[in-house]
Subunit: 274 residues, 2 copies
């Protein structure tokens, strides 16, 4: 099934735009998990089992796994086996290199691990992105405007009358022949999010920045969704993963995820009469 | 020793600006290496042993190791153990993410693997780069103008009167309090290389694009070096690694590396009266 159809079906069936970001930090895991062979994996396994009916996607932030060396890569691989087919799996890897090298990143993340999607840094241009656009079943979320303070340094520079991030969207839309491009669009500035949705009315937007980073759920829904109130993937990581540091971490994560999913759906009803 | 001093000392002692790029492709290894437990590592071990007195640096392109999964990460780790202290080790990883995530990439590449340097994608701005700038002994080579066709898509957009890549350099130079920033500057367009050296007269430039990608050694030396004929790190990968596909691959690599080092030094003598 092509990526867009899969995403639409999942968002419908699960009635959720929530994505849980598995920024699983070994230093923050509940102590009792340390007895497990791979605590990072065990944590993810339980989080996924407790929340999989509440989300449309799980996003695996590769930085947190690479930081653990080979064991982290195993944890990433095993975590993927726990993500059900009723959720999109996103590699938050922010890769992008000359074609020859991007091919290798595509091979591991898309061909071997079989992630449904991956985040890509556009700075190196078309040929650096192309290897991630081969299959219409897999989506490349290209960084447009990120949720961090440094987004202003380059992404918001003016290129003629447009911001660089708008040029990135405009240009990347020309590469979207297989309809498998999406954009990363931070929730931290509602005006920008609105502008991004105007530039790309129908593509999926992966929206980080809600929660610990200060973006509002309301703005993420109001400006991040397409006209039907879909195609926004609203990522929340820390406030769900670390809702409790005790043995009840998975139940607590479920409670927090339910709250955010419901808040998202409250605003969807309000803005899109769903 | 701070990075700049280490680089200067090594370029002096080895009388070389050559960097060998270990873009070690499992699919291109000599067949007789297949009997080894980790052929990718064994190939690198022999290349390094055969060429270490001819170079100032070895650059490990992480894409080629990640593509092999856990075994590739082991190969990268073991390869680093073979790089002598008389050469700079560069992780060509092109990372960059929100601070929280960049911290993790810095942890594995700089703290655990202890690379002397890493390549960084600047698109996400200052806080995404900061975690790689902690130690004056380790250098972040920030992508300015890359050597691929896609460099024109965004890096050469006009921001006011400047190209985006020039703005990147200008801005990043403000973050250079520890004198541990360098730039990636493709050799494929001599005019641009000259402009980059004007913007950053004394910092190290990592220069890919010579050889298989079509850049000339002459231009890389003439425009990439500082006023003393130093501080350019001229990367060559494929033409050295795959000079021969047979049992003589390491000797052949040595022969090719010698040729390129000598060509570099020929132009250094010519342009810098060394």
């Amino acid at each position: 099934m092509i990526f867009l159809d899969k995403l639409r079906a999942i968002q419908g069936t699960n009635n959720s735009l929530l994505c849980i970001g598995l920024d699983t930090d070994s230093g923050k895991l509940p102590k009792f998990l340390k007895k497990h062979a791979n605590p990072q994996y065990e944590f993810n396994r339980q989080i996924i089992a407790a929340t999989k009916d509440l989300v449309c996607a799980f996003k695996i932030n590769s930085a947190f796994y690479e930081a653990e060396g080979e064991r982290g890569w195993s944890a990433m691989r095993e975590t993927l086996h726990c993500v059900p087919s009723s959720a999109i799996s996103i590699a938050d890897a922010k890769r992008g290199d000359i074609r020859n090298s991007s091919e290798r990143y595509a091979r591991i993340f898309l061909e071997e691990f079989k992630f449904d999607a991956i985040t890509i840094n556009p700075y190196m241009g078309k040929d650096s992105v192309a290897p991630f656009l081969r299959s219409p079943e897999q989506c490349a979320f290209i960084l447009a405007l990120t949720s961090n303070a440094g987004a202003k340094d380059f992404q918001r520079l003016k290129v003629g009358k447009k911001f660089l991030y708008q040029k990135v969207i405009e240009t990347a839309m020309k590469w979207n022949g297989k309809k498998n491009i999406g954009f990363v669009a931070g929730a931290t500035n509602p005006k920008d999010l609105k502008s991004i949705r105007n530039y790309a009315p129908t593509v999926p937007l992966l929206i980080p920045g809600v929660g610990a980073q200060g973006g509002s759920v309301k703005a993420a829904v109001q400006y991040g969704c397409d006209l039907k109130g879909e195609m926004a993937i609203i990522n929340v990581s820390r406030s769900i993963l670390y809702a409790s540091g005790g043995e009840d971490f998975a139940e607590s994560a479920r409670r927090e995820a339910t709250k955010i999913r419901d808040e998202i759906n409250f605003w969807r009803e309000k803005f899109f009469k769903r």
